[in-house]
Every structure is written in structure tokens, then in C-alpha cells.
Subunit: 478 residues, 2 copies
């Protein structure tokens, strides 16, 4: 079950221009959708790798992960793009480490609200050094080590970001830890310190407990005394995840009954990043004076491509809440959407304060991000699939300088089926299979199974063993 | 505008048996409704006072405020009732001071959920000395000074209360301060310390800011630095209420526009005890990351009698909230209903902790209840009317030992009309007038105007002057 990860040391970044995996023709496609249709669905990025070519005069180009069209993985390509230049109020960052977040999957599907125009460079989170500073930027200088939360365009060798979304790194925080922390701990900190009123004796039900945000929330909750923490995640992760972190770990498939067995009267707090039917289930588990925090809607992602049914269901299924009912039942319902807060609701200043507090907790040794694995840009769709399958424990990191993983010549079909059985499917995912909107989508998912197989059993990656150890160590050290 | 109040000193309680205002016949009425119909609507309690009689052998009777039937004031009578005896887990309290709360008005109307059977002794709050202790009571002894929050039956010379709702008083807290604090500061404390996450820079819109709970919340909020507090109450109270308490005081009639003028982007927190249409208005005023706390539904009380329209409107008008909308807008909706929490949801232990914290804040001089006025049991309907008209500033107290106010022999009809004009009517109240369900109700309200006139301009009440001074002093001292 443990994944092999690719370790990269930040002290030896590769010259970005040397590893490119695309063709000149792909760069100039205006309409992402058109391009995607012209491409054979099964032509994954990795299969294009053999066509690798070294350009002769691209002094102003950089490697980036581009979304050409919304939908499946075929719309995601590693392409060379012109190097950006910072404008007023912006800085240019030489990217050393990027964070993969669930909202990248939602963006790829096109299920995100106010989606970007395609083609666009993906990514909300990167860490690196400042390489250039635009006019009217205060407090940031060339050479500064920073982490940034741009709205898109983070997954590239170079990234331009408005200074208000750029945070200086203390010396003791590595780029990968920074990329692993910024978004996840920002969400976790606001939830734990601003939205909850934790007191000894309170009980918390935490969904997606083994994910990046889940583990961040767990660490922050553990800075309080006397909290009962019930984590929900796939059964397969229980042994590895629970190292004193949780009072109970509960399988996703039947968590309502499991909670009722442990605590018949329910829980004081539900932290939900799933949405959909789980909203109603979780609300029903709240004790009087209980609080429901909805901070994500990962249930909209049920297949590789956008399914009308999955999106519609995850929203329609949510019962509206009557204020009178909240009054009668003494309950609180909170929505928290970091993306809206940060980019649309003027939350940048406050988020800066939070990030500074997070760094302080890190320096005090109170928190430490758990990194699941590190991937090359070229392997980003495999990384996405791993997150989609909820197989990660902690944060998934992309490294622009990392080497793509070697692919086996002929993936074994029989093994794929075995792998599928092993997958811990949520009930939602299983339902989704029955109603997925197109046969094509189903086919695509199956093809994706192939490539996943090549990822989940990598062998001769030089740094694999080392990082597997590291990963475990990090999990246990927290 | 200032009301004359009746001061009572707790050191000289009257013998309860001496002041009774009822007839033996009234005691034995089983069906409150029937009794009320048989009574002439204009027969106010006070007019029965001349019939006062001293019973010869009622060694086991006590004076109490009884609700004979739901509806208008005519269902409220001061009656002699048999002295109760504490059962297992209960204590008997010799009552010295009682609190009037808005839920007493809601109870009288029959608009409260799970209403009591009539006839019943009214009241949720009293302070006094323990006179007897039942079996299986720990930590309470005869002679202890206490405040209690029974579910009904508090407004009597003697009151039996389950020990879990009884709180020992520190020596420095008088019975009237205790009765003024218990319910109001319990609500206020839970709202301010548990439900809000106050930080410097946050702005709060507080409805019914001059009421008992409103002023309690205000004092508790002022224990935090840097909070902008906008209070909403009738314009007529602004000068008297605002003694550095509020950053702005806003009239009820157009608070949405007033807030928009002061703070175009809205407020961080809305504290609403009105419900109804005000829920939707207030929710619209919330900033991103804002929090709405609904902790009362006083809009259900729009006339003296229960109006189907007012109750229905105040509930139907409230838009249901979509969790998705809360997620998109980064908002929180909280319901807080102390009555449900305390009596139905096992909240007694927690409330005890809160009450202890409140007493501590009192002893530290950080809070001091504002008492609007003190009334005799016999004047309870006038006290209710004052609260209904939202003319009180701070808590209204009932004192079982207080003398009823003298009534003028012939109320001047012309003066009544003048008085009505002076009343600061909320828009809701005015609307209500147009749709009130019965002409009878309208007539009753007018009659009530008469008696109010007698109350609002009392003259020769011995202790009146003294207390008016006290009242002002208390308001300004906080």
C-alpha cells in the first residue's frame, strides 16, 4: 500500500531547459478543447516522452503543466511556455516545489466555479526563490526564499505571482515542506483556530483524515488538550496513519454507524471536505451545540472526467438548512472556501497573518507536514490519480526538477484488475460507476488504470527506497 | 422616558402570606381557558386589588403568578397556591427576586414550543434562600443564597427547583443582581465566548441592544479589545443607552441602510434575537467569514395576544440556507436556544460552569447587570407590556415582596392617546396592527394602554425617586 516517492534535493536543481516533453505545435493551440479532440485519448503524456527533443534556441522558455481542455487527463500536458515577466505588484519565482491540491482535480474537470480559460498553466501552490521583482513591490527581494499561492500558474519552472500571495520562508523551512504546508495549514489553521471553539471534552469527526489538510488539522487539533478526534479514511490506511494521532480511525464505508457505536450521542464537531450526501449524514451526527464545517466538495470528483450526475448529485443532495432548525437544535453550520476568501473576498492580509502563525508553529516544532510523495511534472496525472483514488497519506508534491518515473514496456492487464480490487472505493465512487454519464469516461478510467499500475509498482527508481523511508519517518515523527 | 422603579431591600422581606390578591374560587379552576372566558376582559388584576382579603388559615399557601390560559394579559393572575414540597433531587427556594424574560411573553401567548399545561405558575428565573432540601441533593443546604433557572414556576414566594438548575451565589451578589444576571449573562456568555471568535477589528451588529441580554452581551464584548459594536434599538433609548458602550447606535426602523452607511462592506457578526424577516436582512449584511447568531425569536410577539399571522410570518419569512451558499460565501449560521439546551439537551452541567464564570466576572468588577425596574407580582402584566413595547433598558425584575403601584382612580383617556404617540413603535409592530387577527385583541391592547399609563407616570411611590437614581447610576457605572 505504501507508495514509492521520488526524492529531490533542493540544493541541486536541474537546468529547467533540459527536460521538455512536448512539441512546438502543441504550444500554439488556442482552443484547448479542439486540441484535445484531435489527440488520441490513450496518448498519455508519458508515451510522448520518447519524442523528447532538445530545442536549439529557447532561451526564454520554461517547462510547465498546462491544461489544454477540461475533462480527463488527456487535457493535461507538460509544455514549454514563454517565460513570464512580473508586472507591477508581482514577483517572478524560480519554482523548486509545488503542491497538488484537490482543487487542481476539480479545476481539470472544469467543475470549479469561475474556471480559467484554457489553455492555462495549472497549480495554486509553489515554493522557490524570487528571481525578479516588479514595480511597487515592498518587502520582497531577488533571492528571497518564498512560498506562494497564486490563482493558477504555479506548476511551472517560473511563476509570476501578485506579491500579496507571496510569503517569505524562514530559513528552517525547506521548499518541499513549504509547498506541503502553505495551502493545507492555511485551511487547517483557520478551521481549527478561528472557526472552532475547542475545549477539553469536545469530540471531532474529521473526514479525509489522511489527506494533506486532514493531517494538518490533526496536528493543529493536537495542540489542544482533551479533544476526542475520530478520523475517517479508507481502511487500508488505518495502520499507517494512526500513530497516536486519532482516538479512533473509522472506515469511510459506514462511518455513521461506527460513530454511533463509539459515541451514541454523536459528536461536537464535523469537519467535512466531501459535501453531497455526507453533509446530511454528518449534520445528523451533531450533538446539541455542535458545529458543522463544510470546507470542500471533493464528492464532485467521482471519475476521471466531469460527470454531470456526480456534480449535480453532490450539490442537490445537500439539504438546505432552516435557521429555525439550527435555533431549535442548537447547531452551527459553517462554510469555508479558502479560494473564494483569498482571491475574491479580500482575505489576503488575514491569510498572511495565518501563514506567519503556521511558520511559527513549525519553527517551534509543533507541526510538521506529512509528505506522501514527490513527482515530476511529467507524472502529474499519475499524482492526480493517486489523490483521486484517495491513496495518498499527506501531501503530494510536484518537483519541476524531478526525473519522470521509468515506465514498464508492457503493462500487465491481469494485474490491473487485481489492483482495482485492492482499491478502497467509497460508496459514492461505486454508485458513480453505475451512473457515469458516458461510456467513454468509463473507458478512459480503465485506461487510466493501466498507467496507475505502472506508477504504483515502480521498481528501479534510484531514490525510491530512500524516500519511502523518509515518508514513513515523517509520518511517525509528528 | 426613564421609568420609575420600585426599590426593595432584601434585608426586610415581607411575610408572604399578608399580600394576596385573589379569590379561593380562582385557585381551583382546572381549565384556564374556561376561566379566562368567564372573566370580563377589562377586569385587570389591579382592579381586583381592593378586594384584598387576609385568609385566616392558609399556613401552607404562597402567592404566585399563574397563567390560567394562553393569550392576553387577562390569563395572568396573582393567586395563592399550595406551598410546594421538594422531591428527590430538588430544593425549595424562598424567592426574593425574579427575572422577567422575553420567553415569558412567548409562553403567555402560547407561542412557545412544548408549552406547559395551564394553569401553571409562570417564570424561569428566581433568586432567594434555600428553605428546604429534598433527598439526594448534594452541595446545597438550607440557608444557602442561590439563583435558579427552573423551567416555569419561578414567580412565586416559594419555588421548587431541580438542584441541577440551582446556582449558589457569592456573598457579593444581591438577589436582584442575581436574578438580573443568571439567564441574560448565561445567554450572553455562551454567545460571546463560545460561539464567536472575537478578534481585534471585528464588527458586531447587535439587535435589541438595550435589553437585558443586549446589555449583557455588550459588557462581555467590551472585555475584548478593538471590537466595533453597532447596537440596534429604538431611537428614544439612544441617549440613555449609549454611554461609551457602542461605537454606533442605530434605530431599528432602517438599520440595514444605516449599517451600509457606516460600513459599506457589512459586518463580521450579527447577533439576532428577532428572527423573521430580520434573519434575511441580517444575513445579507454579513461580510465574508461572517457569522450569524440567531438566539431568539421575539418577532413572534407582535401583539398582546397570539397572532397566527405574526407567528407564521416570523417563521415562514426566514429563508432556508443552503450549505453550498455558506461554503461559497464563507459564512456561518448559528442557532442558540438556551431553553432547549438547558432543559432538553442535557446542557445543565455546562451552564453551571458558565454561571460560575459569570459570577467571577461580576466579582472582578468586569460586568454589572443593568436593572431597568422592579415590579410587584401584581403589576406583572404592566412589566410584560413594557418589555413588549421594548421600553426597558436592561433587566425587568419582579419582587414578591414589593407593593403594587397605586393606580389613579380615573385614567384620563386623552392622556392615553398622547402616551401612545410617544411610544416608539417598531415597523413590525405597526405592520402587525394592520393584520392582527382579532378585533378583540386590538381592543384589549387599548385597554392595556390605560393601565400602562398608570404605570408609566407613577408619582407618589415612596421608593420611586430613589430607584430612578439607582437605575441611572447602574447604567452609567458599566
Amino acid at each position: 500500500m505504501t507508495e514509492t516517492s521520488v526524492a529531490t534535493t533542493e540544493t541541486t536543481p536541474k537546468t529547467p531547459e533540459t527536460t521538455t516533453t512536448t512539441t512546438a505545435a502543441e504550444e500554439n493551440v488556442e482552443n484547448g478543447h479542439g486540441e484535445a479532440e484531435a489527440t488520441n485519448g490513450s496518448a498519455e503524456i508519458k508515451e510522448e516522452s520518447p519524442k523528447e527533443e532538445v530545442k536549439e534556441d529557447p532561451p526564454k522558455e520554461m517547462k510547465s503543466v498546462v491544461l489544454l481542455s477540461f475533462g480527463g487527463y488527456k487535457g493535461v500536458k507538460v509544455l514549454k511556455k514563454p517565460e513570464p515577466t512580473p508586472q507591477n505588484g508581482e514577483v517572478l519565482i524560480r519554482v523548486r516545489s509545488c503542491g497538488l491540491n484537490f482543487q487542481d482535480l476539480v479545476t481539470r474537470l472544469g467543475a470549479i466555479d469561475s474556471p480559467p480559460k484554457t489553455p492555462t498553466i495549472l497549480g495554486f501552490e509553489c515554493a522557490g526563490e524570487i528571481e525578479a521583482v516588479g514595480e511597487e513591490v515592498e518587502g520582497l527581494r531577488v533571492g528571497d526564499r518564498v512560498v506562494a499561492l497564486p490563482e493558477f500558474r504555479a506548476w511551472a519552472e517560473l511563476c509570476v505571482v501578485p506579491a500579496k500571495y507571496v510569503y517569505k520562508l524562514p530559513d528552517d523551512i525547506s521548499f518541499s515542506d513549504a509547498a506541503a504546508m502553505a495551502m493545507n495549514y492555511l485551511v487547517a489553521y483557520i478551521i481549527v483556530f478561528d472557526l472552532l471553539s475547542l475545549r477539553p471534552g469536545k469530540s471531532v469527526l474529521l473526514h479525509s483524515a489522511a489527506g494533506g489538510v486532514g493531517l494538518a488539522i490533526t496536528q493543529l487539533i493536537r495542540t489542544f488538550e482533551g479533544i476526542k478526534l475520530y478520523g475517517v479514511c479508507s481502511k487500508g490506511k488505518h495502520v499507517e496513519v494512526n500513530d497516536g494521532r486519532f482516538d479512533e480511525l473509522i472506515d469511510r464505508s459506514d462511518y455513521v454507524n461506527e460513530i454511533r457505536k463509539i459515541s451514541p450521542e454523536g459528536v461536537d464537531i464535523v469537519l467535512d471536505c466531501l459535501c453531497g450526501e455526507d453533509c446530511n449524514r454528518g449534520y445528523g451526527l451533531l450533538k446539541p451545540m455542535g458545529k458543522y464545517v463544510l470546507y470542500g466538495s471533493s464528492n464532485v470528483v467521482t471519475g476521471e472526467t466531469k460527470s454531470f450526475f456526480s456534480v449535480a448529485r453532490s450539490w442537490w443532495q445537500v439539504d438546505k438548512v432552516s435557521p429555525i432548525k439550527l435555533f431549535d437544535e442548537n447547531k452551527t453550520f459553517t462554510g469555508f472556501n479558502l479560494r473564494h476568501f483569498l482571491y475574491q473576498q479580500n482575505g489576503a492580509d488575514y491569510c498572511r497573518t495565518v501563514i506567519e502563525n503556521v511558520f511559527k508553529l513549525y519553527s517551534e516544532g509543533k507541526i510538521k507536514p506529512v509528505i506522501d510523495s514527490v513527482w515530476a511534472f511529467e507524472d502529474v496525472t499519475d499524482a492526480m490519480q493517486k489523490m483521486h483514488d484517495r491513496k495518498n497519506i499527506g501531501k503530494i508534491i510536484l518537483d519541476p526538477a524531478a526525473e519522470p518515473k521509468p515506465k514498464p514496456a508492457t503493462p500487465a492487464k491481469t494485474k490491473v484488475k487485481k489492483d482495482k480490487k485492492e482499491k478502497v472505493q467509497s460508496p459514492t465512487n461505486e454508485e458513480e460507476k453505475k451512473v457515469d454519464d458516458t461510456a467513454a469516461a468509463a473507458k478512459e478510467t480503465e485506461q487510466n488504470g493501466d498507467s496507475k499500475e505502472t506508477i504504483e509498482k515502480p521498481t528501479e527508481n534510484g531514490s525510491g527506497d530512500k524516500v519511502e523511508e523518509n515518508g514513513k519517518e515523517e509520518i511517525k515523527s509528528t
